[in-house]
Amino acid sequence: MPTKSTTDRTRDVHEDGGAPINIGHLRRARRERVLSWVMPITLLVVAICLWEFLVRYHEIPKYLIPAPSLIAETLVRDFASLMASSWFTVKLTFLSLALAIVGGVLLGALFALSRPVELSLFPFAVILQVTPVVAIAPLILIYVDSTFAALLICAWIVAFFPILTNTVVGLRSADHNLRDLFTMYRATPWQKLRYLLAPSALPYFMAALRVAGGLALIGAVVAEFVAGTAGQHTGLASRIIESSFRSEIPRMFAALFLVSLLGIVIFLLTSWASHRVLGHWHESEIRREH
């Protein structure tokens, strides 16, 4: 798919040929794009400077609120240990998200194809979803030997449900006239899935992916909290708990910063994926000029 500029993609063509590109619109679009980055970054820098200033000015002790410079210092000093923990959490989050996608899509497709299967299994999916993961986690930790596998299951339970429900709704959302057309042309079930149902479900799936991405991280962190794991092969949540026990507040902030950063990266990745997949056709991703 060749990428075109936003303006080019959103302009309408008419029977007399393409409409001329409006230079004013182009400029405004570019300005808005730049502003959408510059404004939040400026605000963030200002807030961090203000934080630094207030901590220093009021001489707030570091075990209450550490200055951003101290947090940065801690990040550098404990880089090796924090990176190892980050890598653990990243692995846990992305693996659980991947399994949630596979499980959610397969089960969703099964639900969409067979009403009896949906009626029989859906209540179990709901039970799994509505029971807080914090409440199930201790049991899973007892039953599953490997801590990593137990944490993975917990994170998966949280991330799986939105993918499942949205896949089911998405697969059922195909235009009924297009369905009729596929019937008339005697399409095979596979052709129907490949060329009609799956593309129709994509917007729903991408919306679920954004939610599930965040939930996978929350699941991974919460599960680790419940597990209360310690030692080398543990994630960022364990660093937070550990720092809290030792009253190493700057380290706690550093770990927290990394968790947030991971959350932001996941959000950006899923948003980018959504734009790549839907940007050229779906209303949710098309920027219109007014």
Partner: protein, 257 residues
């Protein structure tokens, strides 16, 4: 101009729950005819069309379509009231759909798709997406898709109802030209008396509750028709004749005073 029977409906009925949508309808359509099913809402004209297309199963009766002599991938083309295009696919891919479903490779299909797009005047828009096109252009894509598999029969369910008058007139003329060029048999559903008189060689008037055939009215004016026909006395006369018939079928509560 017209040949052997191509679509035979024999005592066809369709029920939706308790509602009798089509009651005991028999109709024989000959090759090359341009037949309009005309009637008020709920008279079963769209249902009848979808039964011919094989989209809806019949409750009773039978529909026979004479076997094709040549080998087209699909013998039927269908155009809905809405353009019914896949928004995620380009104009090219939308038109290619019937061929793809019939197992025609992209390489073999490409010249056919280009030809179909050329016929509806959209050659330059093969790579556009549906949302970039006007309503009339989308409908042309829909027509190109219906024609790309070289069907003998074109089924159209109020295809121009949502379009403005000028686009509609233009598409009416283009449709007549296309169906004449291809020797198509067209079954066209509409509730516009003017459109039915202008386009068709035969008008089937239907009534509602239950949906049934009430009159079979051939139109003798030479076909395909020119713009002059719209302003001719013959057109006015035929319009009046068919309007009267249609009025006679309406229930008291369906007539606006």
């Amino acid at each position: 101009m017209t040949g052997d029977p191509i679509i035979m409906m024999n005592r066809v009925s369709k029920e939706f729950g308790d509602v009798l949508a089509v009651d005991n309808m028999s109709l024989s359509i000959r090759e090359g005819e341009f037949v309009t099913l005309l009637g008020p809402s709920g008279c079963g004209k769209s249902t009848a069309l979808k039964m011919i297309a094989g989209i809806l199963p019949l409750t009773a009766g039978e529909i026979t379509i004479s076997p094709p002599k040549g080998n087209a991938e699909h013998d039927l083309g269908f155009v809905f009231q809405e353009p019914t295009l896949k928004p995620w696919a380009t104009v090219f891919d939308n038109v290619y759909l019937p061929l793809r479903l019939a197992g025609v490779g992209r390489g073999d299909g490409e010249p056919r798709v280009r030809e179909a797009l050329k016929e509806v005047g959209l050659s330059r828009f093969a790579r556009s997406y549906p949302r970039q096109l006007s309503g009339g252009m989308k409908m042309r894509v829909s027509i190109a898709r219906a024609l790309v598999s070289r069907p003998r029969i074109l089924l159209m369910d109020e295809p121009f109802a949502a379009l403005d008058e000028m686009t509609r007139t233009k598409l009416n003329n283009d449709l007549m030209q296309l169906s004449d060029d291809h020797g198509l048999t067209v079954v066209f559903v509409t509730h516009s008396v003017f459109e039915s008189v202008y386009l068709s060689t035969r008008v089937i008037v239907m009534a509602a509750r239950p949906g049934r055939l009430v009159a079979d009215m051939p139109l003798d004016a030479s076909w395909p028709r020119s713009e002059d026909y719209r302003t001719s006395i013959e057109f006015t006369e035929e319009t009046r004749r068919i309007s009267e018939t249609l009025k006679g079928t309406l229930h008291a509560d369906e007539i606006d005073h």
